[in-house]
Amino acid sequence: MGALASYLRAIGRTVLSVGDGLAVTFSYLLRAPVTLQYPDRMRVPVIELLPERSRGMLEVDLDLCTGCAACDRACPIDCIALEVVKHAERGRLIQRFDIDLGKCMFCGLCTEACPTGAIRHSHEFEGGTGDVRALVVPFVDAPRQPAKAKQEPPPAPKPLGSILRARMPGPWDRPRPPARPEGGEHAG
């Protein structure tokens, strides 16, 4: 009798466990999926959702830069190319301030070294490009005088990412499909 009982019990257990397993998966059919359809079907752009201190691509506010080259020295992989020259009449001039974002490893040491907060991480991260040279971003167009260490009044802070966006061709310049509200479901 023991053998028959265990045989029947095995059948009962199988039926119950398969049934409950099916109930679990069926309940999952009624849950909201967690998929984010980046980039074209986001309710809010990802960049607005990043944490405040996230390290995106570097940008330099030349209204704050004193040309001290502390960032250049701090950079462990030399992705910052900073040239300061002495001009006979105009004094020190920042001639070149290029950042090779292709090399940058987003360690943030330059931002820590910067005494005025001129170099900073934006939240931009969509730097995909067809040509790696496009990732070298020049921040100086013509030689310009560096900022004084203590300015009166201090220049107004620029919105994060605005400097980089103006300097670098990026996905923000490409035409994008119109963002779709996520609730409505239509042909893709």
């Binding site: 109930a23 998966t25 309940s27 999952y28 059919l29 999926p33 998929t35 996520e182 479901e185």
Partner: protein, 430 residues
């Protein structure tokens, strides 16, 4: 169809040769129609499968091609046709090329005697169900051919496994079908459907408790014959790469693929006709239904709905259960399914002798079994409700939803991950 051919040939006053030609044309037309319907169903099932798989795993599934990604299967089909058809140098060429056709043939030919509606059947054979059981065995030949001709250890193992599995599972499937044949007294698919009624308690599945068990036995065995998870050992990707179709690519792989997916519809359609009343409309007798086009269409729609519900169950089963081991597979078949099928056969035979059809006892038995089925359904609904309650605010009844409803909603994120962080912190402290 024969009457139509006779009618047309009389009208156009065709000679005997003309009649033959007309009949041949009609047969070709019907064959093409059945083939196209089967292919379309197979394609749509791939979409259903991917959508259901997505939602089961909290994903979305394909949703870019057409509304809700419905046209994804057309894109996939075009891709398969355009891909290179590689034949390994060491393979047995002709056999390798032939195998997918054998596989498809076995499934698509079976569609010929599936009653989609009272008049919608390509050929109502008097040995219908026997034909179905026999012709689907052709799939084994195709799979074995593929396994052998590929000259690859995984393919061969997959083919041999498939042969062992399909041959074994034909026994419980056949025995479970026999239970129905006993009740209907005929092997013809249409006669079996006609022997049932539209209301659930007139279906064979709820005729008596043995039939209810037989339905589940047939369904399990048919899923196993179709090489579907949890019985997909012939192509177990974690052990055999892809089993018998490891070496196949392009549209030849597509042949196996379509055959497998058409088989899902086939098994659902057969289960619907045998156990779930087929095209019977509740409250309408077959004779009445034959007289009205609208009732015909309604019958087709009812069959369609039932068959697709079963297709959904097959897909759903795949994303629920893990694969069985080979010994468990054989153990399930020989130690459980076959003895149970014999018990059902015996029980139904005895009930057939004891209970007069149409008597109060018969009706009581039917209603009681229906109640049993309803009780099972209610129990299941209670379990689903239980699991939904555990999901909390993540529940969304929008089944076709696109996704990412709560993602990056800070409050939602805190609720979702906050608990997790707290648990992790607790572990660190310990």
């Amino acid at each position: 169809m024969e009457s139509l051919v006779q009618h047309l040939s009389a009208r156009w006053s065709l000679g005997p040769w003309g009649q033959e030609l007309l009949a041949a044309a009609a047969i070709l037309l019907v064959a093409a129609l059945v083939f196209v319907v089967a292919l379309t169903y197979a394609g749509i099932i791939t979409w259903v499968e991917r959508r259901v798989a997505g939602r089961t795993q909290s994903r979305v599934g394909p949703n870019r091609v057409g509304p809700f990604g419905f046209l994804q299967w057309l894109a996939d089909g075009a891709k398969m046709i355009l891909k290179e058809d590689v034949i390994p140098a060491q393979a047995d060429g002709p056999m390798f090329r032939l195998a997918p056709y054998a596989c498809m043939l076995g499934v698509f030919t079976a569609f010929v005697s599936v009653p989609f509606g009272q008049l919608l059947i390509a050929a109502d054979l008097n040995v219908g169900i026997l034909f179905l059981l026999a012709i689907t065995s052709l799939v084994v030949v195709g799979v074995l051919m593929a396994g052998w001709a590929s000259n690859n250890k995984w393919s061969l193992l997959g083919g041999v496994r498939s042969a062992a599995q399909i041959v074994s599972y034909e026994l419980p499937a056949g025995l479970a079908v026999l239970v129905v044949v006993l009740g209907a007294g005929s092997l013809s698919m249409q006669d079996i459907v006609r022997a049932q009624g539209g209301a659930p308690w007139n279906w064979f599945v709820f005729r008596d408790p043995f039939c209810l068990v037989a339905f589940f036995l047939y369904f399990t065995a048919a899923v196993a014959e179709g090489n579907r998870t949890p019985f997909d050992l012939p192509e177990a990707e974690s052990e055999l790469v892809a089993g018998y179709n490891t070496e196949y690519s392009g549209i030849r792989f597509g042949g196996f693929f379509l055959g497998e997916f058409a088989n899902i519809y086939l098994l659902s359609a057969i289960a619907t006709s045998l156990f779930l009343g087929g095209w019977q409309v509740p409250g309408v007798s077959p004779a009445e239904q034959a007289g009205s086009v609208w009732l015909q269409l309604l019958g087709f729609a009812i069959f369609f709905a039932k068959a697709w519900a079963l297709v959904f169950v097959v897909v759903w089963l795949r994303w629920t259960l893990p694969r069985l081991r080979v010994d468990q597979l054989m153990g399930l078949c020989y130690r459980y399914l076959i003895p149970l099928a014999f018990a059902c056969l015996l029980g139904t035979s005895l009930l057939l002798l004891a209970v007069v059809p149409g008597s109060a006892l018969d009706l009581g038995l039917r209603l009681g079994t229906t109640g049993l089925g309803a009780l099972g359904g209610a129990l299941f609904a209670w379990r689903v409700a239980h699991h939904i309650r555990r999901a909390g605010d993540r529940v969304s009844l929008d089944v076709l939803q696109r996704g990412a409803r709560g993602a990056f909603d800070p409050a939602w994120q805190t609720r979702r991950y906050g608990a997790f962080r707290k648990a992790a912190r607790g572990q660190e402290e310990r």
